[in-house]
Structure formats: C-alpha cells, structure tokens
C-alpha cells in the first residue's frame, strides 16, 4: 500500500520552507553583487529546495526521477556562461569582456549585467548538478524496499 506522506511533521515543515527557499535563492542570485551571495550560493539554495521536496515525499514512490533530463539542464549552465562570453566578441571585445556588451547603459552597468548573466549560468549548472547527484545516489536501492528515508 502506498502511503501518502512520509511524516506529517516533515511535510508541514517542508510546505512552509520550500517557497521561502526558492524566493531566497532567487534573491541571493540577483542581489549577489551588493551583498554576500552569488551564483554558487543561489544554486545550492535552489537545489536545497528540490532536495527537501525529495526528502518529503513518501519512501515507497516508484516514480523515477528525471535524472537524464536534469543532467542536460546542468549542461545548460556552462553553455549559458560560454554564450555570455562569446556575446561580446562581435561587438569588438575580447572573450568575457562585459564592457562591450550591446546594452544601452553605462559601461560599469554593463559589467553588472554581464556578471548577472554569468551567474545565472553558474546557478543553473550548480543547481542541476547537485539535484542529479542526489537522485543518482538515492535511487540505487532495491525497488522492493519500503523503508523510510531517515
């Protein structure tokens, strides 16, 4: 028999925590230039939200996780980074020289946008990689094992 929840306390706590974690992760990403934070931290916080969701759901779900798709998403991170670097080359800059990005703002502000794009790439890569490692480690078990996660 399939149980609907792993533990009621865990589920209530995670329902409170997961939206807060997602909002906080996005805040850390876009505010990383002005306060402690940045791409790596935002990626890990967003991955923590998904990992908490994985921990919350009952242990006997037979649902396979989308491990391969999330590996593809992790590959998107370095690609976003690379495209941001290559974007300034047609406009007369070097690789990763954000001052030549075609944005109609002041040059220092162009650097800010370049850093933001780069950190979006880092966030996507780190988040998807951590989730995929968690899925790979966790789903090796016996499919007949109905033990709880913790």
């Amino acid at each position: 028999m399939k149980s609907t929840t792993n533990s009621i306390i865990l589920e209530v706590a995670c329902r409170l925590l997961i939206p807060v974690l997602i909002v906080f992760g996005v805040y850390v990403l876009v505010h990383g230039e002005y306060s402690p934070g940045g791409g790596f931290q935002a990626g890990v916080v967003l991955a923590l939200a998904v990992v908490l969701n994985r921990v919350m759901e009952p242990a006997d779900t037979k649902k396979g996780y989308w491990t391969f798709k999330i590996i593809a998403l992790a590959g998107m991170g370095p690609i976003i980074y690379l495209l941001t670097g290559l974007w300034s080359i047609p406009f007369g800059g070097n690789f990763l020289e954000y001052g030549h990005l075609p944005l109609a703002v002041h040059e220092a502000e162009r650097h800010l946008y370049g850093i933001l794009f780069v950190e979006i790439g880092v966030t996507v890569g780190v988040m998807a990689t951590i989730i995929s490692i968690f899925d790979s480690l966790g789903k090796v078990g016996d499919p007949d094992d109905h033990g709880s996660l913790l």
Binding site: P36, G37, G38, F40, Q41, V44, V45, A47, L48, V51, V55, I130, I133, F134, L137, G138, V140, G141, D142, D145, G147, L149, L150
Partner: protein, 81 residues
Amino acid sequence: MIFVILLSLLLLIILVTGLIAVFIPHIFGSVVLFNAFSFFVVLAYLLLSAPDVAFTEAVIGVISTAYYVIAVRELRKGDRE
C-alpha cells in the same frame, strides 16, 4: 587580540568535533557530528570576515549531510545486524 583568542578557541572546538566525528565507531552518529563540525567551521569563516564563504559552507553542510545520509542508508542495506 580578542579576535585571535576567539579564533583559537573556535579552532580547538573544530578540532575536537572533527576528531570525535572521524573516530566514533557508529556511522550515523559520525554523519551527524560531521554536520556539527560544519556548523563550527561556518562560525570560524564568519570570524575570519568571509561571509560569502560562510554562506556557501552553511548551505553545503546541509547538502553534504543529505548526501551522506542517503548514501549510508544505501551502504548499510546488506549488513543489518
């Protein structure tokens, strides 16, 4: 001066926690103590005025503990005593 004394005490706590975490016989207790070790390391990073590194270590301590718990659960599957 107070900074140095605080940092030395914190490093002593880190050392003791890490040694207990590595040399305790029970595996799950070791994982939990390793999380405590990670928390004290976060305090040391904050004292060294590196809030970026402290933030990353705080979140990664949680993720690392999740990895250890889920992997040790897989590893102990054969030898239930």
